[in-house]
Symmetry: C2
């Protein structure tokens, strides 16, 4: 029976992916510094095995045959994700993938060196090589999938997302934000004049911050028997659903950034820990995609963790662990601080989308051949000035050299961040309707009802629906920027 063969294949791939996930998390947290070369060799060999097994030619026949078999609804859904996965995996010829991997890895290495020095001229030829291959890749994916080239790239990260649907929503959000950011900053200024900011600085022992983090993780639903918190240079959520590894980094002079980071990664972790167990070894059992994943992390960080109601419960918890007694009037201005800046990863929830929309617009033009890499510094600067009133023309490290995404050929990924923020706000709107006392629940440290809501509508669905379908099924309507705008207005516009 062909379905059985695919099911067994799923177990083999799952074993390799389990190893890759744990080896990857281990590398960032516990590996000895000298272990990197052998680790890279081992992981690349394991990834090669996983790819060869998942992309073997006979699998196409198994999928065709399985579709004719007498399957239940879940199995049919599993087959359709096996097919989507297989097509996305096999639509590029092996020699192209090898060429692209080499080009991309050289560009990433060069980027690490050149970014620090702001050496755009030294970096440009490598980036040009990556873009040229990304255009080829988009073309090949487009033909295999029957999609437009940029859509075919996005399809890897968020199945079902299409520029035709996203671009107008982003356009709408952009015009809103270009006016809203200065207003929010003005409101913040007025408030600060009346109520000056009490600095959060102090000395917060790492071990106490860690205990606070673990207490918050557990409170919002992280299952500590199936996951852990450790330290890494860049925070991440990795591992496997039965053993989710989240990390943070601590500063001893300030606790809020680490705590918010832990809540963000906890949001990712909740999605992983609550995926359907029975489908764990099928593509169907994975989280839907990057935008949905980011919506879950941003929900915990922004809709829960920066919600004033949450802080009514959280302040005494912070005080208990850190021994410092803040009032709501002192903590909330930090939690809701807005600031124009050059760096996306440092941006707050008000300015962040403009960083993403800028990249979304530029990378569409790059893939379409309407923009060349050499023209990026000017194009970036022009949009940065128009959207945030800042210039990057003299500091390419703050402009097109800022992120690893382009050097590593991840075109089509950036939209996921802001789609995630919008989906999180849209979820919040739906939850406010279904659970009218949700804020009161947060204020008393109750997160079960909200987690049940998300488990039923999102987490338990795995990859059963496309991203737009899942948004609509979970929230009752298609992606709608109105919820995110309403959220920003309520929190920052008054």
């Amino acid at each position: 029976m062909s379905f059985q063969k695919l099911d067994e294949l799923g177990h083999r791939i799952e074993a390799l992916n389990h190893a890759l996930a744990i080896l990857g998390a281990d590398e960032a947290t516990h590996m000895a510094p000298g272990g990197g070369e052998a680790r890279a060799e081992a992981m690349s060999a394991l990834a090669g095995m996983a790819h060869r097994q998942a992309a073997a030619p006979e699998i196409a026949d198994w999928i065709d045959a399985a579709e004719q078999e007498d399957l239940n609804g879940e199995q049919k859904a599993a087959i359709s994700e096996f097919r989507r996965n297989y097509v996305n995996l096999t639509c590029l010829p092996a020699d192209f993938v090898e060429r692209q991997t080499r080009t991309r890895m050289r560009c990433e290495q060069l980027w690490r060196e050149a970014r620090g020095k702001g050496d755009w001229a030294g970096f440009l030829p490598a980036l040009e090589g990556v873009i040229e291959l990304a255009r080829e890749e988009a073309q090949m994916r487009a033909e295999a999938l029957g999609l437009a080239p940029y859509d075919a790239l996005m399809e890897q990260f968020d199945p079902g997302n299409r520029t035709a649907e996203i671009a107008p929503v982003f356009e709408d959000l952009k015009s809103f934000l270009v006016d809203f950011v200065p207003n929010a900053l003005e409101i913040q200024k007025t408030k600060r004049a009346q109520n000056p900011l009490r600095p959060l600085s102090g000395h917060y022992a790492v071990e106490k911050q860690r205990e606070l983090g673990l207490a918050m993780m557990a409170a919002v639903g992280f299952d500590l028997t199936r996951g852990s918190l450790s330290v890494s240079h860049h925070p991440f959520c990795g591992g496997v659903p039965t053993d989710v590894r989240i990390t943070t980094r601590y500063r001893s002079d300030e606790f809020l950034s680490s705590l918010m980071g832990i809540l963000h990664e906890t949001g990712h972790a909740l999605y992983e820990q609550n995926l359907p167990k029975a489908w764990a070894h099928w593509p169907l059992g994975k989280a839907r995609g990057m935008a949905m994943h980011e919506s879950q992390s941003l929900f915990v960080e922004k809709q829960i963790g920066r919600n004033p109601a949450f802080w009514e419960w959280a302040l005494p918890v912070v005080a208990k662990h850190l021994g410092e007694d803040w009032s709501m009037d002192e903590i909330l201005p930090h939690v809701h601080h807005v600031e124009r800046g050059l760096i996306r990863v440092d941006a707050d929830e008000v300015t962040y989308p403009l960083h993403v929309i800028l990249r979304f617009e530029l990378e569409q033009d790059l893939i379409a051949g309407k923009l060349e890499a050499a023209d990026l510094p000017e194009a970036w600067d022009a949009k940065m000035k128009a959207y945030l009133g800042l210039s990057t023309i003299d500091t390419p490290q703050d402009g097109p050299m800022q992120d690893v995404h382009w050097p590593s050929a991840a075109f089509g990924y950036f939209p996921s961040y802001t789609l995630g923020a919008m989906i999180a706000a849209q979820q919040w709107s739906a939850i406010e309707k279904d659970i009218p006392d949700v804020n009161a629940q947060f204020a008393s440290g109750q997160f079960d009802a909200v987690n049940d809501w998300r488990r039923e509508r999102i987490w338990s669905q795995g990859s059963r629906w496309s991203t737009p379908e899942l948004i609509e099924r979970a929230t009752g309507e298609p992606l709608n920027a109105a919820h995110f705008k309403k959220h920003l207005e309520a929190r920052y516009g008054q």
Copy 2:
């Protein structure tokens, strides 16, 4: 070229073994408790992949063909280890291995339950099943390797070791120890009467013990850029040569047991860290076997770590980290404490070999069919009385239910422990000749010359020689119990 095919196979197997080693170490140190089931599934699937790839039928042809190719000396040695490895891997039919794995795993599970209760009657049928299959296994291995059945089992752990050579050496050691143990205990008693033991008890913070352990590891040669120390329930040395994971467990009321454990595991680690890099992905590049590995751990623990000269240097280091000032007369009686006991893993270096020789004798009879499992409690008790003057007849958990080795079908492994102790002493004799001021070096914290000696003669040789060949090449003579006896007499007999 067939050698090339074997070389590439080596890289693939190495990647899987790398993953298995890190996943195994991770499981004991950092895995979330709920991660065990998925981890076991993933590891068993990866082990299956490694086995299928390493045991594929075409490999026999590659090895035959490679032997006819124009190879250098290293490559010829590599082929001969590829063949040894292949024959040992493939000499049991797959259906037998499956049956044995099931039987063994059931017996191990039962052992974990039954041991605590001392439930020999409940455990016996499962052990009988394992022994029956071990006899079959020994017969099949014997036919494939042209060896006697018990020798064929030992061959898995220590290639080249033969009962005909080991049994007389053990017999010699046993008669020595049966007299020596009471003498050593008498001498100890007399000394204690003159110089009462000052207890080592106190409160030693785990973090300080850890720093002391790391300082000692680094001093005796552990490369901290290619390995680490963490905590696990059972101490072990795992990981890969570029990232060796050693573990310990700490008691806060006593520091010596953890420190000695760390030195023991560091001995294993030094062997791994200093294996020949260029051969890392061939069977030739692995450590020679269990006896040689144990000889390296026991060398660091017993020949270095319990050497009075070492303590001249180590005492101030301990004082610096733990803040407690011991004199040599206070610490050495603890370092050299001898005590008759029922439990092998708790035994000191004087009594330990009698525990091993007892098991070596019994398991030979078990495999030969001269002894049945049902008769083990009586047979064990009789030997225990004769060798150590202790009885286990009423506590089978202290007798034949003591170790995991038999439930897990590892017959032929026990001799390695005492062979390791003898090889370590024999190495020490050879080193004393080659480095006459070795004790003075230890007393000033110098371990480089001893490590260079071991690196050249043992670590860098990988699996190039059989165990007896390696012993003779490294120390200038075949295995000889005289060195170990001399060592015990010098340390405990005066």
